[in-house]
């Protein structure tokens, strides 16, 4: 391969979570190769600090960078996350956990939940949750690492973190700078494009310097400084499926237990998150401005905090959807500039990660072959659409009162989701895919958790005699129960592995709240 054609300079625009994750990954992956990376960010522009909760995929990302888990957890005030608890989503009063793990073992190639459905049809009232080690462990507030022995019930889960995303970005900044990434303070005032091809050649900063590069990664957030403002790529609006368009966020003092899970509670016109970190709790209220005012939304949030607020409420606006092309010419959008999906399933950082992984896989040369760009966009579109369908599921599977919820009850879902629902409701069949974040157990957790019980189940589940199934089910429940009993509580475990930050819990200042 001729050396002259290789990308020599990458410019990352924006230093939030997306920007520094990109910088960290590229600088690590291409370390020792003739490629320089410059990241432009401005202290004046705040970051959104998206997604304080993550998916298990984050661990692969950190492992690739050889980041030590205890160090990372200490620096980011992180806690472990075994899943998400959904409150009041089906009917008010309901609750369920979407775990990062499976429900019971496969029996003769048939997923366990079919046998559970069989028992249920005969009057058994055990919860499917009792067959899930991560759910029972999460409910007990405990944590341990998965057992490498696949035959054990303690191996049947994965985990993620709840952390302070701003600190995560700061952590990765140190990492990136140590790897040679140059950070430039400044705001872009002008984009210089090639007069014929429209490729971005350079950006001019407020202090006058000009930064040129072969490849630009746009991590500038919602506004998409390069991908949209310069290249006019266009946005596919998904508001008709996911109409929530505002959020208000606020941290508060920890009062409740240190739960190894995130909570999402349905509200009259949206939902509220609770993310427990070591030193504080992150909270937010996602709502639909067509049905609720900002004041009302803030009031609901403040009324539902477990402790005194630690800062003033932070208001966000967004339009759910995705950039028509995440990669256009020599600009790749990663993060909010590539699209936005509400953080109901903690997918913001996951989508950033996929954006980076695919960019590395299809890392361009200076010729910017259209085939590479097309392939990247095809893959990213799939990831976004599949997350979208999973989010829409949470809304349409509701039995709640209220205008917003009735809107969803009457919504025609995307065709891909409609078919999935019908296959589930008819016979408990989950239509699988290979590329995308959510495996069948995730779908099953939400579907059953929101009271969508199938009319039938896999016929193979009727093969073993009933008493055998009853006995096997009791065994699995007992195995899970015993495993949970011998698992330490989360705080103890965090201390044991040396991941405790040691910082005192944050306390609200007596003279009301003040921005940090």
């Amino acid at each position: 391969m001729s050396g002259s054609n290789q990308i020599e300079k990458v410019c990352i625009l924006g230093g939030g979570t997306a920007g520094w994750m990109t910088a960290a990954a590229l600088s690590h992956k291409f370390k020792g190769l003739p490629l320089s990376i410059e990241l432009i960010e401005s202290e004046e522009i705040g970051t959104v600090g998206v997604g304080e909760a993550t998916l298990p995929h984050i661990r692969a990302f950190n492992n690739t960078l050889n980041i030590s888990e205890p160090t990372l957890m200490k620096e980011t005030e992180a806690t472990f996350k075994l899943g998400i608890e959904f409150c009041d989503w089906g009917r008010p009063g309901d609750r369920y956990i979407h775990p990062f793990g499976d429900f019971g073992p496969n029996v003769n190639g048939v997923p366990f939940y079919h046998f559970w459905l069989r028992l249920r049809a005969r009057g058994d009232r055990s919860r499917l949750d009792e067959y899930s080690f991560p759910i029972m462990m999460a409910e007990a507030g405990r944590f341990r690492y998965p057992d490498p022995d696949f035959t054990k019930v303690t191996s049947t889960f994965r985990f993620a973190y709840q952390f302070d995303a701003t600190r995560y970005a700061r952590f990765l900044r140190k990492f990136s700078e140590a790897n040679g990434v140059v950070r430039t303070e400044g705001k872009v005032v002008e984009t210089i494009q090639h007069p014929e091809t429209g490729f971005v050649q350079a950006v001019k900063l407020d202090r006058g310097d000009v930064v040129s590069a072969d490849l630009f990664v746009d991590c500038s957030g919602f506004r998409g400084l390069l991908i949209e403002q310069a290249l006019k790529t266009g946005y596919e609006d998904w508001t008709h499926w996911l109409p929530c368009d505002r959020a208000v966020a606020i941290p508060c003092e920890t009062r409740g237990p240190l739960t190894p899970f995130t909570r999402a509670t349905a509200r009259s016109c949206g939902w509220q998150w609770r993310i427990p970190l070591q030193h504080r709790v992150g909270n937010g209220h996602v709502y639909c401005s067509a049905f609720m005012s900002q004041d009302e939304a803030t009031e609901i949030l403040l009324a539902n905090l477990e402790g005194p607020p630690l800062a003033a409420p932070n208001h966000l606006r967004f339009t759910t959807g995705r950039r028509r092309m995440a990669w256009n010419k020599n600009v790749v959008a990663i993060g909010l500039s590539a699209g936005f999906l509400e953080p109901l399933e903690s997918t913001s950082i996951y989508l950033i990660q996929e954006g980076i992984t695919e960019l590395i896989q299809l890392f361009p040369t200076k010729e910017f072959h259209p085939g590479d760009i097309e392939e990247y966009n095809r893959r990213m579109q799939l990831y976004f659409e599949r997350v979208r369908d999973f989010l829409v599921l949470h809304y349409i599977a509701n039995q709640r009162e209220g205008e917003l919820w009735r809107h969803f009850q009457n919504l025609t879902p995307p065709e891909s989701l409609q078919e999935k629902l019908e296959a589930w409701l008819t016979r408990g069949y989950v239509i699988k895919y290979e590329f995308g974040a959510f495996l069948p157990p995730s779908w099953i957790a939400v579907l059953l958790g929101q009271n969508l019980f199938p009319r039938g189940y896999d016929r193979r589940a009727d093969v073993p005699p009933e008493d055998l199934v009853v006995r096997k089910a009791a065994e699995v429940r007992e195995e899970v129960r015993a495993a949970v009993a011998s698992t330490p509580d989360q705080r103890t475990f965090i201390e044991q592995i040396g991941a405790a930050s040691g910082s005192a819990p944050l306390v609200a200042q007596s003279a009301g709240t003040s921005p940090r």
Binding site: G32, L33, F363, G371, A423, T426, R427, Y429, Y433, R460
Partner: protein
């Protein structure tokens, strides 16, 4: 529940031969006794030769779903092991490679193995594939987790002959629950787009709730329901078995000819020869085949417009006929049956099952077909009817994408749940002489001398290991002896 929607009670499988026997055996083992299973064993179609004597590496697990264990299969049939298919004289450049079965190759420094071959200008992947080298040397041993780690990277399938293979499936104890009817199909009685009953030549009539068409390429049930064949190429095949005292290699061989191709499979006590050709060059094919063929068959390659219509679905060749150049025909047959088992309808309203079965069947066909079609790209081929017809249709856009991405930088494009995996594709690309113009630049980070040494060592280790492995013949002889003693 309306009058038209009631619990599904009786399944009728129509068709003798490979598809019918495997489907019946799996359903008999997997479905609860409350479901009635009827198997109408019409005479096996000669088109079974188009399954090509080679199973997929999924056969071991698949067969267990019919309660057929490997020891049963080897002891009671003439089945043998297969590391894959050795291609010879492919294209005018006469390429030779083993399309072997292999687990993922090592990933070095976060980069796929083959990028290092491109970086160092190493032309062939084969010396790094244990299953390919073992195939060429005629040796075999089971790849075991607890055995040599290099060998554990190999995968294997079986060489088989349909009639004998089927006997192991028909012999399972679960077949006792099946009502077996021998006879020929005379007519299909329809009501709207549903089958009411099948009438046999002797006047008997069989009704059912779900009908499974295993009648082969003619699709005698599905075709009556309006599922048309979208065919492109007509092919003929001649098949013969010859006695052989010594068992040949654990590998099927395919040799290209102007008229088409010939394959040789090594079975227990016999070898099976298959000649596949374009009808225009029949005399050449007959001459090349030699001894008078025991079986002849003609098929139209292609796919039915619908895999499942009304209350009838097809399995195997009733859905589509793909050329047995690769293990695609058996792989798709396995997948058809697995898909059916997970979607056996609960009631006579089977809208959901039909839609999902059709969706997956369509995808499987496209994804298998592009793998076969890729065998006719990137090289020049004889200007004869067989080779012209094989290349007549332009490659599907998914194949074009895969080829372009591999050609430029060795990137493997993948789609959801493809039957052929990344290793199959990499082995095919390299085997056919496709060399990426570029490689992942991260591959440059690994120190050159050290890595070259490592690659040389890997080749040498494979050589050494293969040298210690017994011949397929000896291994099989000892294994069968052992099985005979442990059973009695």
């Amino acid at each position: 529940m309306t009058a038209t929607n009631r619990p599904l009670e009786r399944i009728v499988i129509c068709g003798g031969g490979l598809a019918g026997a495997l489907t019946t055996a799996v359903l008999a083992h997997q479905l609860p006794p409350s479901l009635q299973i009827v198997w109408i064993e019409t005479r096996a179609t000669d088109a079974d030769v188009f399954y090509g004597n080679l199973t997929a590496p999924t056969a071991y697990t698949f067969n267990l779903s019919a309660d057929v264990s490997e020891p049963d299969l080897l002891s009671s049939t003439n089945t043998t092991f297969a590391w894959g298919t050795q291609f010879e004289a492919w294209g005018t450049a006469c390429r030779s490679w083993v399309q072997c079965f292999h687990l993922p190759l090592p990933i070095v420094g976060g980069v796929l193995f083959h990028h290092y071959l491109t970086r160092f200008g190493i032309e062939e992947l084969e010396p790094f594939l244990i299953s390919a080298i073992a195939a060429r040397r005629g040796v075999f041993a089971h790849p075991l987790q607890e055995g040599p780690p290099l060998l554990a990277r190999a995968e294997y399938a079986y060489q088989f002959e349909p009639k004998s293979y089927v006997s192991a499936f028909v012999a399972t104890p679960h077949m006792r629950r099946v009502e077996r009817i021998q006879g020929d199909l005379a007519d299909v009685e329809l009501a709207g787009d549903a089958i009411v009953s099948l009438r046999l030549a002797d006047g008997r009539s069989q009704s059912g709730d779900l009908f499974i068409d295993c009648t082969g390429p003619q699709a005698r049930l599905l075709s009556r329901l309006g599922a048309t064949l979208r065919g492109q190429r007509r092919l003929r095949a001649l098949s013969s078995q010859r006695p052989a005292e010594r068992l040949g290699p654990a590998c099927r061989t395919i040799v290209a000819h102007d008229f088409g191709w010939q394959s040789t499979a090594s079975l227990q006590r016999a070898s099976s020869q298959l000649t596949v050709y374009a009808p225009e060059m029949e005399s050449d094919a007959l001459a090349a085949h030699g001894a008078s063929p025991e079986l002849t068959a003609e098929v139209m390659l292609g796919c039915r417009s619908d895999a499942w219509v009304g209350n009838c679905l097809g399995i195997g060749q009733a859905l589509r006929v793909v050329e047995p150049l690769t293990h695609a025909p058996m792989l798709l047959l396995h997948r058809d049956i697995e898909r059916l088992v997970s979607l056996v309808p609960l009631t006579t309203d089977m809208t959901v099952e039909r839609r999902e079965f059709n969706r997956q069947a369509d995808e499987d066909y496209v994804h298998a077909e592009i793998f076969n079609r890729a065998l006719f790209e990137s090289l020049s081929f004889p200007d004869t009817p067989y080779w012209r017809a094989a290349r007549a249709e332009p490659p599907h856009e998914k194949l074009a994408n895969k080829l372009a991405q591999f050609a430029r930088r060795g990137i493997l494009v993948a789609f959801d749940l493809e039957p052929f995996n990344a290793e199959d594709w990499t082995i095919l690309h390299f085997g056919m002489g496709r060399r990426p113009a570029g490689y992942d630049r991260v591959a440059e980070r690994a120190p050159s001398t050290e890595l070259r040494q490592q690659l040389a060592k890997m080749r040498q280790d494979i050589e050494n290991l293969v040298r210690q492995m017994p011949s397929h013949h000896d291994y099989m002889t000892r294994l069968l002896d052992f099985l005979a003693h442990s059973n009695g």
